[in-house]
Symmetry: C2
Subunit: 99 residues, 2 copies
Amino acid sequence: MIIHSVIFSLKHPKGSAVEKKFLADAQRILSAIPGVQDFRRLRQVSRKNDYDFGFSMEFSDQRAYDAYNDHPDHIAWVRDRWVPEVHKFLEIDYEGYAG
Amino acid sequence: MIIHSVIFSLKHPKGSAVEKKFLADAQRILSAIPGVQDFRRLRQVSRKNDYDFGFSMEFSDQRAYDAYNDHPDHIAWVRDRWVPEVHKFLEIDYEGYAG
């Protein structure tokens, strides 16, 4: 299991219609891509960083994760929405630590 | 529900006994503090950042989170282990985004 997440801020005014549309479209488009499990939209609330939102999702294995990355809907999302509308971001991928 | 997480790297050599001890002690000490739910130790595997590990935990509300922060075992952990042994870190707190 891989937990893929991205913490980000948008260029849009906070609480704006374009912000809401971005987050709604992300839910609709990304959660429908095969292999994506437990897609979550999150609000980042710590004052110890300056990101506003997060997405997280799970993949059963690296193959499912690669298929998501290579999916045309994901590629179009990154090109047409993510790059133009996102101000800054950091990607984080987790696997369980067995100890 | 608040999802509190921290992504971090240690000063210790990778795979060393002191690294393992830090991660084992974190599990033992932090997961036992009242209010901590679903404590997880994670290995950070994305090449798009240079952190090595993560911890995540959940709190039912801000009051439970504050009680954790103020708990003597947490304060001692930060002072005696986190500050001396952690190289770099970023704290992230999430709440659900309702849309």
